[in-house]
């Protein structure tokens, strides 16, 4: 096993398109790091540069202590699981898994032992003689995983491996990959656009946008302390609510919404962080679970607003309520006991102790 270090890595394609810009990531040995971001953010490009499938325009890539910029993929001792499985269709499942070992001239008994062991772990032992076309999507992805694990590489790379599976299979495979990480105790770098996958699987998450790393941290760190408005909006489902407005000062600091008729008192614990912004335009960010109806406020919360329910989405154990205040869409996550019909007006309270403030121009977190 080995760590992976990207230092100032940049990828510029012919025509000047910058796919990744000054990427600095340090993946510890045996760590599970997830690269997440919207389509076109450069996460797959970064992964492909680690794999050696894309040349690095600038910067340095280390696997372990070895500089890998000019090392061909076959000599990097990595394994990659592709989004579209990329199984060799003319070979059986067994031969697909044994392919890499045969190329490396492993003795036949060891190849058999490793393939059988991997097939046992992944539950595909009965399919070893089949061709990929005779397998379901989930089974094919297992074979792709098996092909990676038989090699026992230094680093595992996953390029959105679950995005072609149906929702149920995705949840199942998600858990299996997490288990596999614990069992193999290997360094894994996983690319996804699905923030739920990122939150549930990663030891640390790297959030990317437009080829630039936005923030690196543990899932809870990103959820509780997003570094900027993009990360705050990307991590969490439903996404964080944002209100444009201004921090003003009377007796105490308060936030006044630009469009939404909001006047929210800023709690004392945040006041210390905000005085410099008084009079400045900011974004206030509140997660859906921090906008609560009267029944759940228990008299502790003071800032409120009357909002009309536009859509109500019952999820079983909870309900997502969608409101509109001016041009501001607002979503709240409430308990299943409260399930108002669309059109109902509710007094919603804002739990400002969990509020996030972002600079309006730079969109970076202020508090």
């Amino acid at each position: 096993m080995a760590g992976v270090r990207l230092s100032g890595v940049t990828k510029i394609y012919d025509g000047g398109v910058i796919a990744a810009k000054d990427v600095n990531i340090e993946v510890e040995d045996r760590e599970f790091v997830v690269l997440v971001g919207p389509s076109g953010c450069g996460k797959t490009t970064v992964l492909r540069m680690i794999a050696g499938l894309e040349e690095i325009t600038n910067g340095e890539l280390y696997i372990g202590d070895q500089l890998m910029n000019d090392v061909p993929p076959k000599d990097r001792d990595i394994a990659m699981v592709f989004q579209n499985y990329a199984l060799y269709p003319h070979m059986s499942v067994h031969d697909n898994m044994a392919f890499g070992l045969k190329l490396r001239n492993y003795p036949k008994p060891e190849i058999e032992e490793r393939v059988t062991e991997a097939a046992e772990i992944l539950g595909i032992r009965d399919y070893l003689s089949r061709k990929p076309k005779a397998l379901s999507g989930g089974q094919r992805q297992r074979v792709a995983l098996g092909r990676a694990i038989v090699r026992k590489p230094k680093v595992f790379l996953f390029d959105e491996p679950l995005s072609n599976l149906d929702a149920k299979m995705r949840v199942q495979m998600r858990a299996e990959i997490s288990k596999l990480h614990k069992r193999l105790d290997a360094t894994m770098i996983y690319v996804t656009h699905d923030q739920v996958e990122a939150m549930t699987m990663g030891d640390r998450i790297v959030v990317m946008k437009d080829g630039v790393v936005q923030q690196i941290g543990s899932p809870l760190e990103l959820y509780n302390n997003p570094g900027n408005k993009f990360v705050a909006g990307f991590i969490g489902t439903p996404a964080m609510n944002f209100f444009e407005g201004r921090v003003k000062k009377e007796e105490r600091l308060y936030f006044e919404g630009k469009e939404a008729e909001l006047k929210i008192e800023i709690p004392a614990e945040l006041e210390g962080k905000l005085p410099a912004t008084a009079g400045k335009d900011v974004y206030l960010g509140l997660r859906p679970e921090h906008i609560v109806p009267e029944e759940e406020s228990k008299g502790k919360l003071r800032s409120s607003c009357n909002l009309k329910v536009e859509i109500s989405e019952p999820m079983g154990n909870e309900v997502f309520l969608y409101f509109q205040s001016g041009s501001n869409p607002i979503v709240a996550r409430v308990t299943a006991a409260i399930n108002p019909k669309p059109g109902t007006e509710l007094k919603m309270y804002f739990d400002t102790t969990h509020a996030h403030f972002f600079d309006k121009d730079k969109e970076c977190a202020i508090a």
Binding site: K74, L87, H90, L103
Partner: protein
């Protein structure tokens, strides 16, 4: 209920009758086409069996009166038919091997690499197909003359390969385009070099295109007459089409030998097609990637 069942039963009978009539019509049509295709072959076979080099006959008999394999015996025993066969085989094999080797690699380069002049080269290859071969005869002859390749196997091999290649490169490129890049990338990560990934993964999956390339190259060389007639002057180098033409004289033609030779010439082409047709299958890449 009974009424509904009766109506459904009648409908079923009508549908069944309709499908039978359609099948019958199709069978007649297919038999008709088969006869159209088979008649000339049977006619040539019949001529090859006729005694006395008779081309025309009023008899409708497939096996003519006095039929014998005399023409075949003469063909093998008294003419250099086997030499022509050897020459043709040698040239066709060389053209096929060269064609497959060059088209498979050139097509791969056009499909996978982005190099300067790629598009122009592709269009250039296409443009060469717009000129009739007879128009190219003179410039090619001059080129071969300067290269001292007139009256040599290599001369015809060069011309046949160069005329077959543009089509073969295009069709190989088109086929490679359908093979997902990720298969090669996966092989390269598994431990292959780029060449290894091409050889172990891409080529086996491109089997149908390779077969087409092989058949096209083979047929270009096997049945060609005009170029061979210009380039090959020594009778010991003659190919089958040139050899068969020897049976035709200004006053008389040995139709029996001509017909027997023609039939035998077609045997290797048919055999090769039958052997290679098992590779002409679709869906080789099924299951490799999410479709």
């Amino acid at each position: 209920m009974n009424h509904i069942m009766k109506t459904t039963g009648n409908k079923f009978k009508i549908n069944n009758l309709q499908s039978r009539i359609i099948s019958l019509f199709l069978y007649f049509l297919l038999i008709g086409f088969t006869l159209v295709v088979l008649y000339p072959i049977l006619n040539v076979f019949s001529i090859s069996l006729r005694p006395g080099d008779r081309l025309l006959s009023t008899s409708l008999k497939l096996i003519p009166d006095g039929a014998s394999f005399h023409a075949y015996k003469v063909l093998f025993a008294q003419t250099p038919f086997l030499l022509w066969f050897w020459n043709s085989s040698l040239i066709a094999a060389a053209v096929t091997i060269t064609g497959v080797a060059l088209a498979s690699t050139a097509g791969y380069a056009f499909s996978r690499f982005n190099f300067y002049g790629r598009k122009s080269a592709m269009v250039g290859l296409l443009v060469t197909q717009m000129f009739p071969p007879t128009m190219l005869l003179l410039p090619m002859y001059i080129m071969l003359l300067k290269l001292h390749l007139i009256n040599s196997y290599l001369g015809v091999i060069v011309i046949y390969t160069s005329t077959a290649l543009p089509f073969c490169v295009w069709q190989m490129k088109g086929y490679y385009d359908t093979i997902p890049f990720s298969l090669e990338e996966s092989a390269r990560i598994d431990g292959s070099t780029r060449w290894g990934a091409f050889r172990r993964i891409v080529l086996p999956l491109a089997a149908p295109a390779l077969v087409i390339t092989a058949l096209f190259s083979f047929m270009t060389a096997w049945s060609e007459y005009i170029v061979a007639a210009q380039v090959l002057q020594d009778t010991s180098l003659f190919t089958l089409p040139l050899g068969l033409k020897q049976f035709e004289a200004s006053m008389s033609t040995q139709w029996g030998l001509y017909a027997a030779g023609s039939l035998l010439v077609s045997v290797p082409a048919v055999a090769l097609f039958l052997i290679l047709s098992r590779w002409l299958i679709s869906g080789l890449t099924l299951g490799s990637v999410k479709g």
